[in-house]
């Protein structure tokens, strides 16, 4: 059944293309990389993330990053914290207050975290709890979207890669911004500044 549908559709594509004259030419100028600012990637990442209502804290080293994490959890009065290195079951995760993950890369020009299923089980920890905290090493921050896409192709593409830019948002009611509709209401990124 579906095999014949496949042949019918591919046949229809070939027949209609064969009947058609070529398209108008759209001359292509390679798009040049755009440098939006001269500041360093860490500062740019922070600025971009804060522009989309995310929090960014720059720590001096790994120990400082852990302290920052502890302080945030204390301030939030977090009871149940889910970690991506040992995430709870998908039925239990709905009861957690905070999800903590790392990120495999980040994009400075957009304030985006890149999470890769090959690195950790990030899918629910970074999504279901109302607060997501991500810890990232400063050396993993790239300048542009293009660089991040290239980075992902260095190895076999993982089953699930997620880009995250700020907390969950919607503007479906009168285009009024509301934060935290299905995903986290708050996003903290701790940048470990040690090289």
């Amino acid at each position: 059944m579906s095999n014949s549908a496949r042949e019918v559709i591919l046949g229809s594509i070939r027949t209609h293309l064969a009947a058609s004259p070529p398209a108008d030419d759209h001359p292509v100028t390679p798009a040049n990389p755009v440098i939006l600012s001269n500041s360093d990637p860490i500062t740019r990442f922070k600025e971009s993330l804060e522009a989309v209502s995310g929090h960014c804290i720059i720590a001096t080293d790994a120990t400082d990053a852990t302290d920052v994490l502890k302080q945030i959890l204390t301030d939030l009065k977090a009871q149940r914290v889910a970690y991506s290195d040992n995430p709870p079951d998908k039925h239990d995760i709905f009861g957690f207050d905070v999800g903590v993950s790392t990120a495999q890369a980040a994009i400075a020009e957009t304030g985006t975290l890149v999470l890769d299923s090959a690195g950790e089980r990030h899918r629910l920890v970074s999504l279901v709890p109302p607060v997501h905290i991500a810890i990232i090493n400063a050396s993993c921050i790239v300048e542009t979207l293009s660089e991040a896409l290239t980075l992902l192709q260095k190895k076999e593409i993982s089953p699930a890669i997620t880009f995250i830019t700020g907390p969950s948002r919607t503007a479906d009611i009168e285009l009024t911004l509301a934060i935290g509709v299905h995903g986290p209401q708050q996003l903290y990124v701790i940048v470990d500044g040690s090289k």
Binding site: V34, S117, S146, P159, T162, P167, R169, I173, V181
Partner: protein
Amino acid sequence: MNHLSSETFKENAKAALADVQLRGALKNATSLFGERRKEAAAGLPNWEDLRSQARAIKDEVLLHLDRYLEEFVRNAESRGATVHWARDAAEANSIICGLATERAARIVVKSKSMTTEETHLNEALEAAGMQVVETDLGEYIIQLAHEPPSHIIAPAIHKTRQQIGELFTAELGMPPTDNVDQMTSTARMKLRDRFAAADVGISGVNFAIAETGTIVIVENEGNIRLTTSLPRLHIAVMGIEKVIPRFNDLDVFLKLLPRSGTGQRLTTYQSFITGIKRAPSDEGPDELHIVLLDNGRSRMLAHPVTRQSLACIRCGACLNACPVYQQVGGHAYGSVYPGPIGAVITPQLMGIQKAAQLPYASSLCGACREVCPVKIDIPRLLLHLRGEISPRKGSRAERLAFKMWARVMTSPSLYRLSSVAGRILQRVMPISRAWTKGRDLRPVESKSFHDLWTNE
């Protein structure tokens, strides 16, 4: 509210024009979207180059669509996805209902998908005994209101917050409010419960990458991530035109789509899904099924003008820019695809006679072409479709009028007489009422150019 038909666009539009609340909502939304798009595009100095690049990539795909689809299918299947081909809406729905029924599914969560709106999948799933829950906030609102979407990216754009508040109070028992945050958190709570219980998640696809077999879905809310992560079965539905050649092509499209749609540099989430999980202990569904839908699309390849329709990335920018859409909104088009792009896609998908008024629902001002991130020449497409609708050259009265006009214009004496007659007749009888109903007609000057030339 009844679902309107494309065949009655004129009547639908007239009713919409009389709806003051609707016009207020539309004016706010379209102008805000328009401003945000403009600002976002201005933020990229190479915007025009990106548009050309995107179009060139789409043209390349469409000219070799068979090859790229086969490459995509090969790569998706080698990573554990199952691909289904559907010639039309009925076939797509029966594949999807079959998959769900075989697994004894009862609850289906859906994330926003224009393609499943096109196939009317929800009705089919409900007829098969399933509970179907739309999870995008806008889609959830219109599902509760039993209405079709009125905008490609903001389905409930036609509703005011008061109307939505009343709807939530009536349908969900929310205490009366018009506070947007409160309504949003009510929806969050109600839908979390459905996500936790769902057996099947159904999503759309923004881009399907041939070289890796990856599907890419963009969103702001997180409901797509929940839909594609929690249930054990994920079904992704896509039109055959969604394929792009290379992973790197995303650089262009992920810059254009969010900026054109909502004016964002990037939407909050992009999910890149390549096949199924590698180990049972990994997260994510056990099964991924991808449904490729033709439903009239392959026919559009036959002509370079109609072929452009398949380059569309569903950003909605042409809707916001269109002076007709701005006034009448999405429902008047009687199609899941409204606005300028809807006026060209709908007649091609549904059959030209069923939507013969839509290609005329435009002043051909060209605003849609200006904003289109993939440079679709929508006015040219509209004219092309008009040509298919009326190969007959106008009505009998029109033909007679032009015959007389030709006679007058080729005879100096008749021309002179007509200009005198025109001056008098315009004062004593209302001519061209259809023309002057919506606009002014300047009075004919008391002296013609001929007179002035002779006297000076």
